[in-house]
């Protein structure tokens, strides 16, 4: 294969469209063999790669407002691929792929020290506190393209990397040099009933995600488009998930401002 241009897969999530319905969460669970237990109400023990947060504006009735914010792995690039989690993993069980921009997790390599979880400010990394168990018969709906994780390892959203692999395989079989935008879409993007998620290559100006976010690659990938923001922009994590909201209070909740406001 020739040297192909590095891709940078990312997402734009339109919070004006997102209804908080949870389809993305379940699509992800079904696609990625996420286990479930009888009681999943302790969200700190629950494994869900995609989590939908409910943001509130903190105002009393009737000025109260809420907004849903789906949070997959942000696939931070940091500076030169030094995402918060990748550089801390002692066993090289997670990796930043500079060809795709995807932060991967190698379950068979992870020995469960959880340092990466401590490093991630977005809480995208989840530990398998329990043995995954499927009630008799339910293991039949497991997806063979994604390995089942064992107890004691960390897992997280992979941008459905198996779909990228399959898209590449398909393109190769069909004699195409590269994959098309629609060949590789994550399960959550595909499922979203509100079409709130747009996924694609941020480096490719023809991709919708690039046109929506207009990332400023010389400036740490900051969005140039109006009303777009990234979570915790100030930390320098350089994430590849962009959010869009026309509501100012929502955009404000994307980062910490208290120190800045105090100065003002």
């Amino acid at each position: 294969m020739k040297h192909e241009k590095a891709k940078k897969f990312g997402m734009v999530i339109d919070l004006d469209k997102c209804t908080g319905c949870g389809s993305c969460m379940v699509a992800c669970m079904a696609e990625n063999n996420v286990p479930f237990r009888e009681d999943e109400t302790d969200k700190l023990l629950s494994v869900a790669w995609m989590r939908v947060y409910k943001l509130t504006n903190g105002k009393p009735f009737p000025d109260a407002d809420i907004c849903y914010l789906p949070r997959p792995c942000q696939h931070c690039e940091g500076h030169h691929g030094h995402s918060p989690c990748v550089s801390v993993c002692p066993a090289t069980a997670t990796d930043y792929d500079t060809r795709t921009g995807i932060v991967s997790q190698i379950y068979a390599r992870c020995f469960g020290c959880r340092y990466c979880m401590a490093a991630c400010p977005y809480h995208v990394r989840l530990f398998n506190w329990y043995d995954p168990v499927w009630p008799d018969g339910m293991e039949q709906s497991l997806n063979p393209d994604v390995s089942v994780r064992m107890r004691g390892v960390v897992e997280k959203c992979s941008f459905c990397i198996q779909r990228y692999q399959m898209a590449k395989d398909r393109a190769y079989m069909e004699g195409r040099e590269d994959i098309e935008e629609e060949d590789y879409q994550t399960a959550c993007t595909q499922a979203c009933p509100a079409d709130a998620i747009t996924f694609g290559d941020l480096n490719n100006p023809h991709h919708k995600v690039h046109q929506l976010a207009r990332p400023d690659h010389r400036n740490g990938g900051k969005p140039r488009a109006k009303n777009l923001f990234r979570l915790l922009e100030r930390l320098g994590t350089n994430p590849k998930v962009y959010y869009k909201s026309s509501r100012e209070w929502v955009r404000n909740l994307g980062d910490n401002h208290d120190a800045i406001q105090e100065k003002a």
């Binding site: 004006d16 319905c21 079904a30 479930f36 997806n143």
Partner: protein
């Protein structure tokens, strides 16, 4: 050889050193790492050939097309069907978890008979024999009208087969589970003279005035509504949400208008008042295509000025004026109603009030307006040939009182059934009850009364694929294949404005000893013989379906769905089938109905100072299907914590009772009591308690069973004076420290 201490030491140390230097420890360490990667109890999904099967989701009335991903003969994922007019590739949370219903532990694996309170497996022959004997018996006794059937729909071949079977057998007691469809059907019938489903051209509407409809909480066809909402966001369409609680729909709306619960109809008439006063209506429609406007107008002018309406509804008069003006001035305004997911029919007059708004802006049958979608016409069966028993039986009153002199308008009144049955302790109103695709024991308000009524029925037959609450109360369970194992036509998508037929098909072979309900009915008919066998002459359900579909069959098999792309709503001149041929604001029938007044919640204000309202979300399903594992997993911990449900209370209200955030409390209503936790929520109107629907199951696997409480246990039905349908939207309640 003598082993002394020294040689023993040397041997041990030397041995240890030798072992350490050999490849053994390295090999063992390596094996260990490999072993931890495939613990025998961690499943390894098998690879295989990947195929996609087009089918239909039947889990809600939404009518979505699905594309099922298979690996060999396993279903691994359900996705939305690309190009489908309703959902175009997307799918809702429940549909996505559909495979869990196929493979999960809640399945009924074989026909079951309850003997001494416990279910025993029986053969299909034995089960069908037993039923046909009982049915033959009742006929010979001249009591065929004591057989009834509850189904979730009255459209499509399976419900029609059930209905046909019942009729030719001699009973009129086919009962559809209640929903806003009841009220919309009646509204269209009374005002437009048509028998049709209400469809909403939401994709083209640009100003949607929603009277409490959970457009983004599962109302209508959820995915279709979501997509429409996204279109509004892109094209500047507006959504105005009128409801007492900041639901997901309200949060996404452009303007949330909190309103005193139950007074939505009053607000609609208040808006109508302003529109009349300011002549903000479509003169062409009013003058040329409607009658009774002036008579109706007087009544509105007198009773609904913004001040009065403001007092009743709690909405500022200026807001009412503003709403009227922006609604009427919008290019394509649309008003919708039916609270939450639309599971309660509600007050007919409220629906009619909202519908008059649509009429005044002249959006009936127009782009972006409300359409009358005709019933599917593909099921054309020959006129029934009834024998004497059947003729006499079908002349009897319906068991639920629908169509009686008291409630002449209603077609089905499942909510009235328990009261009627429980009132008559000796007379056998229903002796055999079939339940197909419904779970009334859970989903109907007044659970206790429903259970009492069910206990009185000598033979309850459930067709459920799952061991749900109703199946648990049945005497016989004849499990249907799940929607992934059977053929079935799904005509129409709720709230969609064009005719569409989806075809569910067996994506996999039936996993268990189940039988298609259509086949069961045909076999029962055959067993009963005579006119009954004649009326259902098909070899099998599949044969019947294929015959009904006619030349659509090939399209259905090929595409997974069929739609009439040329369908257009008729011109106003031809649209109305009333006596006047016009839209009728007032006519004889409408005038005979009780006047509109807001439905009051049951209970005494002094004893129950608060009002309990239910709310619906996409993550909790409360119809026939209870949440599968993935869906209940997605429920946030502000709704469910361990087994406790959290009720939403405004902090001001909670503090006045002395309740802290997260504290236990006792929630009591005139109908029942429950232990709940309190969740402070600024998005709920003071004085209200909001409880999610869809929890409190006693059936299903432990992921769902025993979690939270069922709203229906705390509320009873409240008959709409006009129709007899359930119009309860809440109940008076008290919240006290636990």
């Amino acid at each position: 050889m003598k082993i002394d201490r020294r040689s023993f030491l040397s041997f041990t140390i030397g041995g240890a050193a030798g072992t350490a230097l050999s490849p053994l420890p390295w090999k063992l360490t390596d094996d260990m790492a490999i072993w931890t990667q495939m613990w025998p109890w961690t499943p390894v999904p098998e690879k295989g050939e990947v195929t996609y099967v087009k089918s239909a989701c039947t889990l809600c009335p939404g009518g979505c097309g699905i594309s099922v991903r298979k690996v060999d003969d396993r279903i691994v994922k359900i996705e939305g069907l690309k190009g489908h007019p309703v959902n175009d590739g997307s799918l809702c949370i429940l549909g996505l978890a559909g495979a869990q219903l196929l493979y999960g532990p809640r399945r009924v694996k074989a026909p079951m008979k309850k003997i001494n309170g416990k279910f025993r497996e029986v053969s299909w022959e034995q089960a069908l024999d037993e039923i046909s004997k009982t049915l033959a018996d009742l006929r010979s006794k001249g009591e065929p009208h004591t057989v009834a059937c509850i189904a979730d729909s009255d459209r499509g071949t399976v419900p029609e087969l059930l209905n046909r079977f019942l009729r030719v057998y001699g009973s009129r007691n086919f009962i559809r589970t209640p929903s806003i469809q009841d009220s919309y059907e009646l509204t269209l019938n009374l005002m437009q003279g048509v028998r049709a489903m209400a469809g909403f051209d939401v994709n083209n509407a640009d100003y949607v005035l929603s009277f409490g409809s959970g457009i983004l909480d599962g109302w209508g066809s959820p995915v279709h509504m979501f997509k429409a909402h996204s279109l509004w966001r892109e094209h500047g369409g507006k959504l105005i949400q009128i409801e007492p609680r900041l639901s997901s729909t309200a949060a996404k709306s452009d303007s949330w208008i909190p309103i005193n619960p139950g007074t939505e109809g009053t607000l609609a008439l208040g808006i109508a008042h302003v529109m009349i006063k300011e002549s903000l209506y479509d003169n062409d429609f009013i003058d040329n295509y409607s009658t009774g406007f002036h008579e109706w107008k007087r009544h509105i002018i007198d009773g609904y000025n913004p001040e009065i309406v403001g007092k009743v509804t709690g909405v500022a008069p200026s807001t009412i004026v503003g709403l009227a003006s922006s609604f009427a001035r919008a290019r394509k305004p649309l008003a919708v109603c039916g609270r939450g997911k639309g599971l309660t029919p509600g007050s007919l007059k409220e629906f009619m009030a909202v519908h008059t708004l649509n009429a005044m802006v002249g959006n009936i049958g127009k782009e972006g307006g409300i359409w009358a979608v005709p019933e599917p016409e593909y099921i054309e069966w020959p006129e029934l040939e009834m024998d004497q028993t059947a003729s006499i039986g079908t002349q009897q009153h319906r068991a639920d009182g629908a169509g009686s002199s008291l409630y002449p308008q209603a077609r089905y009144l499942l909510n009235r059934l328990p009261e009627t049955m429980n009132a008559s302790s000796t007379y056998k109103l229903i002796q055999v009850l079939f339940v197909a695709g419904a779970n009334p024991v859970y989903s109907m308000p007044g659970s206790a009364d429903i259970k009492e009524a069910f206990e009185k029925i000598p033979l309850v037959v459930s067709f459920s694929s799952y061991m749900d609450e109703t199946a648990q109360m049945a005497d016989l369970i004849l499990p249907n294949h799940t929607f992934l194992e059977r053929y079935e036509d799904v005509p129409a998508a709720a709230g969609y404005n064009r005719p569409v037929i989806n075809l569910a098909r067996p994506v996999v072979e039936p996993r268990f000893n189940t039988m298609h309900t259509g086949d069961v009915i045909i076999r029962l008919a055959r067993a009963l013989g005579g006119t009954i066998a004649k009326a259902l002459p098909w070899e099998s359900y599949e044969a019947c379906l294929e015959e009904m579909m006619g030349d659509r069959w090939d399209t259905l098999v090929e595409e997974g769905y069929w739609t009439n792309t040329d369908f257009a709503a008729p011109q106003w001149s031809e649209a109305f089938e009333t006596a006047s041929g016009k839209f009728e604001f007032v006519n004889k029938e409408i005038s005979s109905l009780a006047r509109y007044s807001p439905v009051k919640p049951e209970g005494d204000e002094a004893a129950y100072p608060l009002i309990l309202i239910p709310f619906d979300t996409m993550r909790l399903w409360n119809g026939y299907i209870g949440d599968p594992q993935f869906v209940i997993k997605s429920v946030p911990d502000t709704v469910l914590k361990k087994n406790d449900v959290l009720v939403e209370v405004n902090p001001a209200t909670a503090k006045s009772i002395g309740l802290r955030d997260g504290a236990y409390a006792v929630l009591s209503t005139p109908k029942g009591k429950a232990r709940v936790k309190v969740h402070f929520y600024e998005g709920v109107m003071p004085g209200l308690v909001a409880l999610p629907r869809g929890l409190g199951h006693s059936a299903y696997e432990n992921n769902l069973a025993g979690k939270g409480i069922n709203f229906n246990e705390l509320v009873g039905p409240f008959d709409d004076a006009a129709t007899g349908h359930d119009a309860a939207w809440g109940i008076r309640a008290k919240l006290a420290k636990a």
